[in-house]
Symmetry: C2
Subunit: 157 residues, 2 copies
């Protein structure tokens, strides 16, 4: 079955999007173990939203479909630094597409938006970490021009 591409609008997330975003973050095996979907949503999520929303170097965006529903998200950080002649670099995190909307080009529109932003902000590098088990994600990013150039290493407390 060929799925039809869904053209989405990408806009900055608002406080009232936090619930929809956390639902998407929780909607896979890795995320389920990490998130907490209590009702009401734990205040830590809203506090985190306020912190990132106040940071001019961080953009949390959502993909919104024609009906106004939030069907994807992505966080982009523009990080100044000395290396590469003082060029900022862009870090992409928390890319998610609602499970019932996958395969429709929504993730691609989000990531292409982020790449365009990185260019507009004079970054010379876009980087991201993807869990080694997310093989589909790695293929997706390769298709968009990313290289598997690095090892992503983490400590989780």
């Amino acid at each position: 079955m060929t799925k039809i591409a869904t053209q989405v609008t990408i806009r900055h997330a608002r406080r009232d999007d936090v619930g929809a975003i956390v639902l998407m973050l929780a909607d896979d095996a890795l995320g389920r173990a990490r998130e907490l979907l209590d009702e009401p949503l734990p205040a830590s999520y809203v506090h985190a939203f306020d912190r990132l929303d106040a940071d001019p170097n961080i953009q949390l965006v959502v993909a919104q479909d024609d009906s106004g529903a939030v069907v994807g998200c992505l966080q982009l950080c523009i990080l100044p630094g000395l290396s590469s002649r003082g060029a900022s670099r862009a870090l992409i995190e928390d890319v998610r597409v609602a499970s019932h909307c996958r395969g429709r080009g929504i993730g691609e529109q989000l990531v292409q938006w982020a790449i365009a932003q990185a260019r507009a902000r004079d970054c010379r590098l876009v980087e991201l970490l993807t869990h080694h088990t997310r093989v589909d994600a790695q293929r997706f990013y390769e298709r968009l021009g990313f290289q598997r150039s690095h090892v992503g290493m983490t400590i989780r407390f």
Copy 2:
């Protein structure tokens, strides 16, 4: 030959450290191709320093030995975000030790400082990308508790 550990002082970088830091960034095969060691140093480095120095979420630190010489550096970014119940995460970048001082525990002191900072700032994750060819670096990070959990993917413009 066993090298003697060098106890260093870790302090925030100042504008007049930029030259020493760029020398370390340029001092390996990957860095040499990316940096520009003109005299005077290209203004883009100093502008980048001013940008990162103004960002409360970014700490560029240097390791200074007893003689006052800068012998290492590390950049730590504390990134707010919604995932993991709204916990910030810490990103370590641009870890370097001057080539004549390697093997003396300086890199370890820098990274342990960053891990302690991440804990103090309530992060639940410390992450970094290391080029797949930097096999020694990967062993070094594993020894400090990092796992090779992710694939690091990049686009360079």
